[in-house]
Symmetry: D2
Subunit: 334 residues, 4 copies
């Protein structure tokens, strides 16, 4: 069976998913919608699909599933609309910037028994998957301490920053989800500290660019997250899990792995400098899993619930910075 | 302009090229031919192209280029046939096992001014390309000594060994071409030693499974090659170039780069264990370059001449082992 | 000029310093004292020095400097005694487990203008020194985020744990000092979380074995520390400093750096498994610096003040865990 | 029992051994001799030993063993003199530049049953010892192919080159010994090629600066050696052994193992740039083994015979380059 897709949103991440869908033999891209007509048209031309309106897509009989890549403030409404329309839904993170709104939205999804997957692409990175697999295989025993270092090559445009919901909800949210993925246990408390070291304009916009986070679970497992909006050497994406009988780590990735030795030393090239090149395989695996989930061959995971909890962790981090204390997730999630 | 391809030979390497052609937006796979009908049919079904006879392809107006992946003993004849038919030709190495036959064949190609490229895929590996680029950028100064280690995960079937022309013409030939690619200067002498350490059946078939080669150029540059038909840790493919102001090396490649630490030490997974997964990107780049060459946007390189010289180096190595001496390439090439 | 040393305390760490002193051409070990006569005698025999009482050493004219390696609860008293006696003093960390007691002790040291150095050996590790030097050379620009991972191969005996002052004052104290050494700026707030994952007996003794710490400075620089009393793969000692134009990291150390490749992958041996072998060179450099400081050729650094602040950071961490909040260092230091 | 040493030759390598002897608790340096009085005096002053003449040392009753670090052309005579005088002898490589002379010398040693060890220090490097140990433990199965890369940071003074016996007898001789150490089987044939790429003056002196060597054993095992008198990135010393079930390699060594990441990439410092710092531990282990051999607790290995064979391999390499053929070791050794 071929899953027939519509793509909602033809921006940067929309293009990534368009490529993943059209490269997958089990999928077909039937339609694309975008408020900006030229953006939609570009994808339609490149992949031979139709430009349609959101409404037309919701009503269409030749569409099984939608991929939502529109601006964040439209996600929850679209999820509800397409859930009611009976489509399977893949939605980019976050579902919404409000925990309450996400909860309401997920009620609709539950009532309709919609297949919903949330776009935490990193769970599908082959290297991070291999880390998870090593844990499952018992290679490090009981998980004790997770260490995540995640640094962007550079800060996004200040206009993006202003609409982003803040670094915890925009950037750290990926690491919150990764921490849960690796800890295998729910997080109880969040402690965070944050500052502006990269660009004062980010501070003026009310956000931070450098943050540290500590997480703890009911049984006392730890996770730490270190984020910066700047890394001159590329897209720094490392995870390490320390356990009772060993440790497992995923190394950074680069396009070419050569080493030049001379009087200045031994030099390897910088890392991938863009999430799209770094996570190409992850995006492909993610859509493949969504297709499997629609076909009943895989779990629709990460779920809407996973999206909700990651957002709650981000909210808890915001409160922790403001109040200088460890915040319980239950304070946020209720 | 889209280049319309026919694939001649639907075996293991044929499938690799079918995938590379169909993934390239500038190419279209129109037809496939194979003496084994089911093999041709499988590719036709998977990629939606026609099964045709060799003759029909040669006569076809809707075919611009052929990719020759048939058994080695048919290569030279097919090149002549399709050169005369006015098609651009990509041929898997080697063109033939006889230097004389290759020379005759290349005369036909020259007379017809055919675009001909020979399949030394490793020149298109991103890591090896980056090594060449570092040399061209002057990062290591004058090239002095090239070191190539190339080991297969395991020996091929003995029937393959018997038809292969021997390890120097089948396996080392890639390294001869790589040595030339990296030295940037023609090789003058070849010294080789060879033995059977992996499988006595290979020796009984008149071949070797473990060989070492030393090459030298007119200006005294060196290259050494180390080959084995066995490597328990995967497909071992390393090159290193030592120059007057530095050195550059390409590391081995693996599918996932994680590291597990425990009481036994720090362990990374084995390497890719198959040339198709190891060189996926190289095969794609190779076909892309062939397409560019047809369009006049790139040199058709490696050329038929490159194929001839690599074969001559293999012949020289065979003689060197037999006679226990350094053999001049001019003895073979005339 | 040769500095004439007495060693106070002939236990494990005393032996390390005895070796460092006797290997240094600018030093001579004249006397050793220990409540356990056989321990003192063993060092006396090995290095050809005298066994003396504490009092005799304080009164001796042939002693220029003492190295205090006795139990922690004697450190402050001995510092005061030998400061008054006019000796230069090297004291193992911590000076005392009470901030108030340390402050009083340092007043005596100040009044006597005693040369006092505190044993934070890691500042003298060649690799960590090279990290500091890279920062000083501007290679990473402004320091922004320090990441320290420090894990012991195994937990100490439970009797040691009970007398240790707790993991923050015994183990993390090294990392607090390292964070200050690398941040180049005083720490303002401490947030910590702690749990018992390695050995319940440690919890029963009122201590933790797994801790995470976040530190922040006035200008918003960050440091994170991850500690565990268990690491099956050896003595895990890593630091990384992320700055505005780059990052610098010190890798783990092992006795032999070989790699075995086979069907299970590529394996390097475990790390050093003992602080004495891991930090051999650091201990030698430390004593050499102390000797230079006595001779006026180097600063007596880390100083008593450095010891005080590291202890205050440990106290702040203890409070942070108890009260679930970020603790200001000024709350502890006054 | 303390072994009482005399050092013959107070030059560069003499100083290395003086330090190794005086650091070893089982040894005492009693006397030093050198044709250059100030050189001998410097060592005598530093380590508190006497300056004596060769003759006085040979006659002395308070000397058990000598370490010969004089110029090569005196080695064989001194070995015979001290063998007859009943001393244990450690001699720097080579024993002589003439195979015949070495054979005669070893007859005297055999007749006197002298304990004789030859200075192939690399066998005692902890990393290379670990490689040997991994082989002995069966971790790579049957040894099949040894790869040695050995490059000096820079060429020696041309005066040294002239007296050195040529690169094969001066530099490659270490690698010949290492190949034998790792192959565990005698070498049958030697093929070599050599050129002048580093410094024309070396060519004018009748020597080479860049050489490649292939070795084979009776059972078909291979070794390759790559030597250059130049490496801008430090003292390049790598070995790798490929076997039937795996491979083991020793990595290069550097004084500090940090890595700086920035926009130019990830850079580790250059390697050790001097044999004395690179092989500090090897020299200490070597003398310790010699002391054990005197005490009957270890084999006197590498032996005079090992020195003879390594020289024969060098002679064979010289012939191979001249005559462009594989040379049998039996042609040289008789």
């Amino acid at each position: 069976m071929t899953i027939r897709f519509a793509l909602l949103g033809a921006g940067r991440i929309g293009k990534v998913h368009a490529k993943a869908i059209t490269s997958n033999p089990a999928a077909r891209l039937v339609a694309v919608a975008d408020a900006m007509a030229p953006a939609a048209q570009a994808i339609a031309s490149q992949y031979g699909c139709e430009v349609r309106s959101i409404e037309a897509i919701a009503a269409a009989k030749d569409i099984d599933a939608v991929v939502i890549c529109t601006p964040t403030d439209t996600h929850a409404d679209l999820i509800e609309q397409f859930s009611t329309a009976g489509k399977a839904i893949f939605c980019e993170k976050p579902i919404d910037l409000s925990v309450r709104r996400v909860k309401d939205c997920l009620k609709v999804v539950a009532a309709n028994k919609t297949t919903l997957m949330v776009g935490f692409n990193r769970r599908f990175d082959p290297h991070f998957m291999a880390v998870r697999k090593a844990i499952d295989a018992g290679e490090i025993g009981e998980v004790e301490m997770v260490t995540i270092v995640s640094r962007d090559p550079g800060a996004p445009p200040i206009e993006y920053v202003k609409r982003s919901g803040g670094i915890f909800r925009d950037m750290t949210i990926h690491d919150f989800d990764m921490a849960r993925f690796l800890l295998g246990e729910e997080i109880e408390t969040v402690s965070a500290q944050a500052s502006v070291l990269v660009d004062p304009a980010i501070g003026e916009a009310g956000d931070y660019d450098s943050v540290s986070v500590m997480l703890s679970t009911a049984t006392g497992k730890h996770a730490t997250i270190s984020n910066s909006r700047r890394a001159t050497y590329g897209y720094d994406q490392r995870i390490e899990v320390h356990g009772s009988v060993g440790s497992v780590a995923a190394e950074n990735q680069r396009a070419v792995s050569i080493e030049v030795a001379n009087a200045r030393g031994y030099t390897r090239p910088p890392l991938y400098d863009f999430f799209m090149t770094r996570y190409t395989q992850a995006y492909a695996n993610e859509i493949a899993t969504f297709i499997d989930a629609i076909g009943g061959k895989a779990k629709a995971s990460p779920s809407g619930e996973d999206g909700l909890i990651a957002l709650a962790l981000a909210d808890a981090a915001v409160t922790s910075v403001k109040e200088g204390r460890a915040v319980k997730v239950s304070e946020v999630l209720g």
